[in-house]
């Protein structure tokens, strides 16, 4: 790292030379081309058959889960959903390159990373049905997962807030001598928030072992990336803050895996942040509250549909003799059945007792919340039909 603190070390020039954006073109790592064939002279990352197949199976699973849950939202069974269709490789293959002790701080489109960690279908359902089996106690909207046992920090809706938090968490890991890092996911839209700039700068200055993983998927709800920033994507900003940076093809699972593997190695051995910008495309609507037909063309979507990361990895697995198509079909069908069965079960599970409305605001329940809870319970007993989800269990 150059020392920029002392003016004497800055090179001088003798005429006005305004530096223009675009002088450095940041290239994109690609190992599998859009047809799933190895790029000429590409270095394949160290990856076992087991990991490659797990990445593949997880991507297929997430696509099934996303399809089913969008349908469930349309049927009115859940209030909201947010799919990651077309960009599964970014979350899944990056999570595959992490250690189990590494903390994941995600935005809200990284269900693939969570599934790779081992989050079960029932866990997904319990959160989405806001029931009492979810350890987050049904307080947030669907898709705001979180699981302490899996080192996956509970998601918060406000955008970009996790970015400086990841720097702080990683600094704590370093100070505690842990052999672990933090990975922080966010989109290119969230990178416009002030928290992004604060978080990267602090991580660089304080040498935090954190991977900033940006899914540049082209859209923030309706806003295309060209209305989001004028510079060379998000990667160029990493360099500006003195953060080691790589741009990868986000729809190439091997490139994502290889880049994250290397970034983790650097973060842990050199105790510093690394920024990964994964170039991908949000084939899904922003959420079930959104309809993209109002702001982009089907042609554009079709171009990206052809770059499907699942198809790409299947071809490579097949070339290695690792892919069993019949078995895969069976697995996908089984995933569908599992999701449906789990949904049926978990949607019938009660929400938390009303007592939980006041817990976790503080470590211990203060007097005024006790009073408010008592008053609320008396009221519910008087009007049980008004509060059907909890009144039967109020004592």
């Amino acid at each position: 790292m150059k020392d920029r603190n002392h003016l004497a070390q800055v090179k001088t020039i003798n005429r006005v030379n305004i530096i223009e954006n675009g002088i450095i073109d940041i290239p994109m790592l690609q190992i599998l081309d859009e047809n799933g064939a190895l790029v000429d002279e590409a270095t394949i990352p160290e990856i076992s058959k087991e990991v490659a197949l797990k990445i593949y199976d997880t991507m297929e699973y997430i696509r099934v889960l996303d399809d089913r849950m969008i349908a469930a939202q349309r049927q009115g069974r859940i209030s909201f959903y947010l799919a990651s269709t077309g960009e599964e490789a970014a979350a899944v293959a990056s999570a595959a390159a992490l250690g189990d002790d590494d903390l994941i701080m995600s935005q809200y489109r990284e269900q693939g990373a969570l599934a790779y960690r081992g989050y079960t279908t029932d866990q997904f359902m319990n959160q989405m049905f806001s029931n009492k089996a979810d350890p987050n106690k049904g307080r947030q909207m669907p898709i705001h997962y979180g699981d302490k046992a899996l080192n996956f920090m509970t998601i918060s809706s406000p955008l970009g807030t996790q970015i400086p938090q990841a720097s702080g968490y990683a600094y704590g890991q370093k100070m505690a001598g842990k052999d672990a890092i933090t990975i922080c996911y966010f989109g290119e839209g969230a990178a416009s928030e002030g928290d992004f700039h604060a978080g990267l700068n602090m991580a660089a200055v304080l040498n935090c072992p954190v991977i900033f993983f940006c899914r540049n998927n082209g859209y923030a709800i309706s806003t295309p990336s060209e209305e989001q920033f004028a510079g060379d994507g998000i990667a160029s900003r990493g360099l500006g803050y003195g953060v080691k940076t790589i741009r990868v093809d986000g729809n190439d699972p091997l490139a994502v895996y290889g880049a994250t593997q290397e970034a983790r190695k650097i973060a842990i051995t050199q105790k510093c942040p690394v920024l990964i910008e994964a170039m991908t495309y949000r084939l899904a609507a922003h959420s079930t509250s959104d309809d993209p037909t109002g702001y982009r063309s089907k042609d554009e979507e079709d171009k990206w549909r052809a770059k499907d990361p699942i198809v790409r990895l299947a071809k490579w697995l097949d070339s290695k003799g690792w892919f069993d198509e019949a078995k895969n079909k069976q697995k996908v069908e089984q995933a569908r059945l599992d999701v449906l069965a789990s949904m049926k079960k978990c949607e019938k599970t009660d929400i938390c007792d009303v007592d939980e409305i006041v817990t976790d605001v503080y470590h211990e329940l203060p007097w005024h919340l006790k009073e408010q809870l008592d008053g609320l319970k008396q009221h519910i007993k008087k009007y049980p039909e008004k509060y059907p989800k909890t009144s039967g269990r109020v004592k």
Binding site: S130, G138, M141, T223, E227, I351, V358, L369, H379, Y383
Partner: protein, 325 residues
């Protein structure tokens, strides 16, 4: 007259303001071509061009900082913050800049032309971060005006007045009413006064005070109370800052009782300020303590949303308690 829902009334007010004054500009996240996530700015870009209605990058502090600069220059910005829950990155710009601009420059400079529009409130299964009612944070900030409409007619008239007002206005839109119903709204230009409460229903036994979507709740509770022979007066405060203590005090002197309802948590909520002022102005007229029916002192929960809300049955029970004190 035309039939409009609250969103259409907002859209109509923006069209009216932008047509009348070419300095009026609307912007925010997804506000441009898409027309905003709730479609409050639909077709404005088509009508007025990309220069006057546009998308911004996803940065609330940037949006309000930019709007402050634009207002200082003499333009008339109407900035949208997509959800009230996401206004906090802009808190510094609003509290330290917007609200203090005129005062710190001795009146040389101001950002009085700024209007910040933001949807607020619960009842839409939005959980922690799509349900909050943050008015009290801003009510503690001298220099701002805070306005909340309760229906489409109020929305158009109050928004037009806010855009043209000489002070910066935080205009909070009750999003659960956005498409809830339609009402008659004049197609022509009109304004409703800022800083003035509105008498919604006359009554003699108790004054029910609220704003925004909670006016409906007060009306339902008043109907329940009427079955017991209790006559409720209902007042829509409309402006949180500055607020119309005069109208409220006159009503309380008549009824002798006051109930205040808001969705935001009770502690430090704006009801506290109203209660303190009214007990000061009306001490000898009060027959019972001033009642507050508010959200619980917790974050806004999803699964327990119904239990959290200060609904009509909670309000009705509080009316009875106040009457029988």
């Amino acid at each position: 007259m035309a039939k409009m829902n609250l969103l259409q009334a907002i859209n109509n007010a923006l069209i009216t303001a932008m047509t009348e004054n070419e300095k009026v500009m609307t912007f925010g996240e997804d506000v441009g071509h898409f027309g905003g996530v709730f479609r409050a700015t639909s077709h404005l870009q088509e009508k007025f061009g990309k220069g006057r209605c546009f998308n911004t990058p996803l940065t609330e502090q940037g949006i309000i900082g930019f709007a402050n600069g634009l207002a200082a220059q003499g333009s008339v910005p109407v900035a949208e913050i997509q959800f009230g829950d996401y206004i906090f990155p802009a808190f510094d710009q609003i509290v330290n800049e917007t609200a203090k601009w005129r005062y710190r420059s001795g009146g040389q400079f101001d950002v009085g032309s700024l209007t910040i529009r933001t949807p607020y409130g619960g009842g839409i299964a939005g959980g922690l971060y799509h349900s909050q009612s943050p008015e009290a944070f801003f009510a503690h900030c001298p220099g701002l005006k805070i306005v909340v409409p309760r229906d489409p007619y109020q929305a158009k008239g109050l928004l037009l007045a806010s855009i043209r007002d000489k002070d910066p206005v935080l205009f909070m839109e009750p999003k659960r009413l956005y498409r809830a119903s339609v009402a008659d709204v004049p197609e022509e230009d009109y304004e409703l006064p800022l800083g003035k409460a509105d008498l919604v229903q006359q009554g003699s036994d108790i004054t029910l005070l609220g704003w925004g979507a909670q006016i409906e709740v007060l009306q339902k509770a008043a109907e329940m109370a009427l079955n017991d022979g209790v006559s409720c007066e209902i007042i829509d405060l409309r402006s949180i800052l500055p607020w119309d203590a005069h109208t409220v005090a006159a009503s309380v002197m008549k009824t002798g009782r006051l109930l205040i309802n808001h969705e935001a948590p009770q502690t430090g909520g704006f009801a506290s300020e109203i209660a303190a002022t009214i007990q000061d102005k009306c001490f000898l007229y009060l027959e019972a303590p001033i009642a507050r029916v508010c959200g619980l002192d917790t974050p806004y929960p999803l699964a327990h949303e119904k239990e959290y809300m200060p609904d009509e049955t909670k309000t009705y029970e509080a009316i009875k308690r106040t009457l029988h004190y």
